[in-house]
């Protein structure tokens, strides 16, 4: 049987492909990345896009969560101060209502409650990073102003009822603000400013209409309870942010693990393959060298 006399060329071709394989393995080892081109593993390359997208969405949410936590904590502490201010207003009013105070003292109580009113209003106008946090969507303007043109004075809300949310990658909506009208100027007896303004008017003359003053004091008590309820909404958001943030961080750890498994070179496996490839290369080189040494034709045996 005749064979291809140029078979050494094929051996050299095999040597070339072994070297190409070694080059590929070496680049995997040096870069640590298993998939350097799409065609090496198209499915892994596509999956990598999705995993990185989720990782970055989680990452971005975690960052946003830390940004909003500051604002929510400011809101929480402002409402805490409001609660303590209102509590002291109630105890002042109660002492004025029991009929033992002189008219001058009653006036002084009226002045103190007026001071508390100013303080609560300024808390309701709390500004965080340039934004009025109790103004709903109208966060660029101060939400509460009081006009003393009427008696009792009137506190007006200039914001709106807009509620902002932060949406987590999983779709959970976390409430970021409570509009001022929901906290301070609720309907009926839930209106903090109306109750305070009424009390200031009740004590301004020094003589107390006890029945009216007691009704107004009770109204302030109800309003205080309402503010406390709204504060719970803020606290819930802070807790929810923490919980969702923790969940995101642990999901992110899992995702990074999956992405690493998918894309990173298995050093032990690649090294083994490299070593096998090197052995093959040495064998091929030896064969080619051997073929070159042995006289590759009958011509060398012919004696002239």
């Amino acid at each position: 049987m005749r064979v291809d006399p140029n078979y050494v060329t094929n051996l050299v071709g095999a040597l070339d492909s072994t070297q190409a394989n070694e080059q590929q393995l070496t680049s995997e080892l040096s870069s640590g990345v298993r998939v350097n081109t799409l065609s090496q593993d198209p499915v892994a390359a596509g999956e990598n896009v999705l995993l990185l997208s989720q990782i970055h969405q989680d990452d971005s949410f975690t960052q946003s969560a830390s940004l909003v936590t500051g604002g929510l904590q400011v809101a929480d502490s402002a409402l805490g101060s409001v609660v303590s201010q209102l509590t002291s207003a109630i105890s002042l009013a109660t002492s004025a209502n029991n009929g033992t105070l002189s008219p001058a003292d009653v006036k002084s109580v009226g002045n103190q409650i007026s001071g508390i009113l100013t303080e609560v209003q300024s808390l309701a106008n709390t500004n965080y990073q340039g934004q009025y946090i109790f103004a709903g969507g109208q966060s660029s303007t101060s939400p509460f102003t009081t006009s003393s043109a009427t008696t009792p004075a009137t506190t007006t809300y200039h914001g709106d009822s807009d509620v902002n949310y932060l949406v987590a990658p999983g779709g959970q909506k976390i409430q970021l603000n409570v509009p001022g009208n929901q906290i301070f100027t609720g309907s009926g007896t839930n209106n903090v400013f109306a109750a305070l303004n009424n009390l200031v008017a009740d004590y301004s003359s020094g003589t107390v209409n006890t029945n009216q003053a007691v009704t107004d004091t009770n109204a302030l008590g109800t309003a205080l309870g309402y503010v406390t309820q709204q504060r719970v909404v803020v606290d819930n958001s802070i807790n929810q942010l923490g919980a969702v943030g923790d969940a995101m961080t642990s999901a992110q750890t899992q995702l990074v693990g999956a992405q690493t498994n998918l894309m990173q070179a298995d050093v032990a496996q690649v090294s083994t393959q490299l070593s096998l490839s090197e052995t093959q290369q040495t064998a091929l080189e030896d064969v080619i060298a051997q073929l070159n040494n042995s006289s590759n034709s009958l011509f060398s045996k012919i004696q002239a």
Partner: protein, 470 residues
């Protein structure tokens, strides 16, 4: 009755024949490494006997010239397989440079087309950040800068693809001059072969024609049809005549729609050549199918992202309180084609980003939520933008990997056919050595017989005396 002088003549012919055969062997050895050379064997023919008084006497041997050892079916199969292999290898080269644009993202920050998936996420995530504080100018600026990175990567990728496409176009056009010079060479050889060797293998001329055909089939997909008098007709795989015996029909080029089209006579054969094989087939498949597929996906992505983000932004309320005319973030595309290359951020003032919904105060973030939500909405060909990009990457990778496998298989098949053909037609030095030894011995034997005859004739001339002629 045979005579000594007849035997002399017979032996001198045998010596001539041996010399001629040795010449053939020498020619084989000399051409052992010549590309396209087909091994030749001496053709021996027994001379017609002469009949004297009813008795037939042999008149020796003639050597009628070398014959090429060729299997035309095998060489034609080799040519066909070579045109497939060269088409897929050309296509693979261009696919490799396409996929080089989309190097898998490692998560490290850099800006290449491979990061488009990341860019999309970062762009939509910038709206999630904006949810946290819709009036913050740094967060607003971040929306524009992530948008610029996204549009930059998309348009760079699209422009690179367009550049590759015109490069492929030029390469394809360049192939035609080689094709035309080969077809005219084949036509000339046809004429020579038909006149010198109409009924038998034309040896060296045939080698040359075979070599030209082999080169031609690497450039373009062809069919070969043997015609009378050892001529040859060559057509493209779809049947357009390139060479008809002594005449060659040139492939001409013309521009249509910004791309080179190929004509034989007045027929536009561009799509036939694309599916025909050869380098030209590979270039045209890459130019007309592979690059446009990726480009169309990028266009679709750019178009959907730009129009959807623009529509939401324009409908919302921006930082200045404008509702319904906040403007566009990206250049608004008018059609899908070309959207990717033209993708760019046109908004310069971050305060024009409409984080608030229509009718809401500037502190509202519900429009920012709507835009951030786009990342999980199926608005690009019924897929989310990230899924769409992931799909693009997987499809491209699978195409490259498929062509790679195809190319490896075709190359293996070419190697196998090449080995078979070499086994038959290449010069085997061992065979030549053995042939030479045989011919040497035969020549020595003939010489010896000649000497013996000489001695016998000497005896006859001297009539038994050993002095007159020596």
């Amino acid at each position: 009755m045979g005579t000594i002088s007849a035997a002399f003549s017979l032996m001198s012919q045998a010596l001539d024949a041996d010399q001629s055969a040795l010449n053939t062997v020498a020619n084989n050895v000399a051409n052992a490494n010549t590309v396209g050379y087909t091994e030749e064997t001496p053709t021996w023919r027994e001379n017609a006997p002469i009949i004297v008084n009813g008795v037939a006497y042999g008149t020796g041997v003639s050597e009628t010239g070398p014959t090429s050892v060729r299997d035309s079916v095998l060489t034609e199969r080799l040519d066909q397989q070579q045109q497939l292999a060269s088409a897929s290898s050309t296509r693979l080269t261009s696919l490799n440079s396409i996929q080089a644009l989309f190097t898998p993202d490692t998560g490290a920050a850099k800006t290449t087309a491979g990061d488009i998936g990341d860019d999309l996420t970062n762009f939509f995530s910038s709206f999630t950040s904006l949810e946290a504080n819709p009036t913050d100018s740094a967060l607003r600026q971040q929306v524009l800068s992530t948008g610029a990175i996204l549009s930059g990567d998309v348009s760079d990728a699209a422009q690179s693809l367009n550049t590759q496409r015109s490069a492929l176009d030029q390469e394809a056009a360049g192939v035609t001059s080689q094709v035309n010079s080969l077809t005219s060479a084949i036509a000339q050889l046809n004429t020579q072969i038909e006149s010198t060797s109409p009924n038998a293998d034309a040896g060296t001329l045939e080698d040359q024609r075979q070599q030209d055909l082999s080169q031609l089939s690497q450039l373009v997909g062809i069919n070969q049809i043997t015609t009378g008098s050892n001529g040859l007709a060559v057509t493209t795989t779809s049947g357009q005549l390139l060479v008809s015996e002594g005449q060659s029909i040139p492939v001409t080029t013309g521009t249509s729609g910004g791309m080179t089209h190929f004509f034989i006579g007045t027929t536009d054969v561009t799509s036939d050549l694309a599916s025909g094989g050869g380098e030209l087939g590979g270039y045209l498949t890459a130019r007309d199918t592979d690059v446009p597929t990726v480009l169309a996906s990028l266009d679709q992505l750019a178009y959907s992202v730009s129009t959807n983000v623009n529509a939401l932004n324009n409908a919302g309320t921006d930082q200045a309180g404008d509702t319904g005319d906040s403007g566009y973030i990206f250049a608004q595309p008018t059609q899908v084609a070309g959207s990717a290359a033209a993708m760019t951020v046109v908004m310069t003032n971050p305060n024009n980003i409409a984080a608030a919904s229509a009718g809401q105060g500037t502190g509202d973030n519900s429009n920012a939520i709507a835009m951030a939500n786009l990342v999980s909405q199926k608005f690009v060909n019924n897929m989310t933008p990230t899924d769409f990009y992931s799909n693009l990457v997987t499809t491209l990778g699978a195409t490259v990997s498929g062509v790679q496998t195809e190319n490896t298989a075709q190359n293996a098949s070419v190697t196998q056919l090449q080995t078979q053909n070499n086994a038959l037609s290449a010069v085997n030095l061992n065979d030549e050595a053995s042939n030479m030894t045989t011919l040497e011995r035969s020549y020595q034997a003939a010489s010896q017989v000649f000497t013996m005859l000489n001695s016998i004739l000497q005896s006859a001339l001297n009539l038994g005396q050993s002095t007159t002629v020596s």
